[in-house]
Assembly symmetry: C2
């Protein structure tokens, strides 16, 4: 099973859109996928039109109430399962702040989970707090969605430091394995400048730490495409809503690249 | 003095871009403006190319070390002052979690501040945690930057509830006074649908609570304009970087609307 957290503390860069549509693309290609929504905004849950179980349980209850993942998990399509979030999840950050081992609660729930999947994807909120830390200790890989804008560049070193600390103290073998450019305005000078800066940063940093020395910059760049922003209002992935759009094309190409990465392992 | 927090827990909707460029526009029009950066990403600080004082002090030290605002405040242009953030601010959220009155520390610092301004603007992180709560107890107004996308709609009720609770318990008179549409792709159907939904929401909700019964939806809509995303890489506001761009035009129009609001008070 490949386990991947979609993380960037910069807001609005395409974390949720990528988690949902990559999960849907992999599921359409026949792989069993579980998508965990760790964002209190519950946007991945909303994007796929997922309703909570009859007890109204969500990831909040998994983290604070010992509810097993299997109890909250909902199947949304063949091969595609979602563990939904809920607004209450925002309270978990405060409630867990004094709890011993608060960063590894999700890891323990996953170890107790009898179901097996080919891919586990975790959508994270725009912060590096306890919810994102739970994702970092529960997966072996991190994908970094990145909008090619200047402000997006400036969170990178903090994010890498956080991944590095988690890899050393709580989760040996954690790797930043994918850089994904999202919301790409094709022709702007800014986009190509920022992409150059990022690539250069990782070239020079490659020797810096094991955590990012094998990062792949995906060839697929996700183009800005209004269909991707419309799909959530129908509770659908891009493949159900606009299967011939640029958005569907780009996320399918991404899924193929991710599968090629698997083949190399 | 008008005191305004720029808040939306949805990430990447234009909070920082609006805080910085509205502050710059008001300062250019002759009003004394203080911009406080309460986001650990420190993007407003970065956008205006602000360096910390010789002791390396920032809003982190104001909140956790009793350092007065005047000590960290830096003048960046005639009439424009910034209280910078720093990555350490992320630690304040955890460090203050057990502190009595942790939500009103900034309010007390502002009351101790001898300097007077015409406008106080506070840029907030994409969350409703203790840093945003400090902004909500320190200002009398909230502006809500909103990208006209479906996912952006779904945080509204949580945000209004939070403002309502703060208004009742900690800050009488707090009002949501402005709705600002940002990153507007002019012709898309999605944008006009979402804007209609939002306007309808506030029409029906108007009687709901004092907090948002007088909200103005600014006529000025901030168009998507790549110059706004380029300006931060030069440490400049849009007015210094591209004074004839759509971005400069829109934020100047917004400043005029904000001043008209003042005249009505
Ligand atoms: N390639 C794209 N083209 C057009 N719109 C997009 C694209 N990717 C994402 N969006 C839209 O841009 C907004 C931001 O994307 P999204 O919510 O996925 O980012 P995020 O990083 O998950 O945000 P947050 O930090 O709030 O969790 C959403 O309204 C989404 O619908
Ligand atoms: N009108 C616009 N046109 C083009 N780009 C814009 C516009 N407004 C903001 N941007 C760019 O979009 C990105 C998101 O904007 P910004 O950082 O201001 O949002 P934010 O709400 O402050 O994000 P966060 O939630 O991370 O604090 C930035 O890279 C910014 O440069
Ligand atoms: Mg998201
Ligand atoms: Mg910001």
């Amino acid at each position: 099973m490949r386990t991947i957290s979609m993380i960037n503390q910069k807001g609005g860069v395409g974390k949720t859109t990528s988690s949902v549509n990559l999960a849907a693309a992999l599921a359409n290609l026949g792989h069993r996928v579980c998508l965990i929504d760790m964002d209190p905004q519950a946007h991945a849950t909303l994007h796929l039109g997922v309703a909570l179980n009859e007890h109204g349980q969500s990831m909040y209850h998994v983290l604070t109430d010992d509810v097993p993942l299997a109890d909250v998990r909902v199947q949304v399509a063949p091969n595609l399962y979602v563990c939904p979030a809920d607004l209450d999840l925002a309270a978990a950050e405060m409630e867990l702040s004094g709890e011993v081992g608060r960063e590894i609660i999700l890891r323990d729930r996953l170890q107790d989970d009898p179901e097996t999947f080919d891919f586990l994807l975790i959508d994270c909120p725009p912060s590096l707090g306890v919810l994102t830390l739970n994702a970092l200790t529960s997966t072996k890989e991190v994908f970094l969605p990145l909008q090619p804008h200047f402000l997006a560049l400036h969170g990178l070193s903090k994010l890498l430091k956080t991944i590095d600390i988690v890899a050393r103290r709580l989760n040996k073998g954690l790797r930043l394995s994918g850089l994904l450019y999202c919301l790409c305005d094709s022709s702007t000078r800014l986009a190509s400048e920022v992409i150059n800066d990022v690539e250069e940063f990782f070239q020079t940093e490659r020797g810096g730490s094991e955590v990012w020395s094998h990062v792949t910059s995906f060839q697929t760049k996700i183009r800005r495409n209004i269909r991707l922003a419309e799909a959530p209002s129908f509770g659908q992935s891009i493949f159900q809503y606009a299967p011939t759009s640029h958005g569907a094309e780009d996320y399918l190409n991404l899924a193929h690249e991710v599968l090629e990465q698997s083949a190399l392992e």
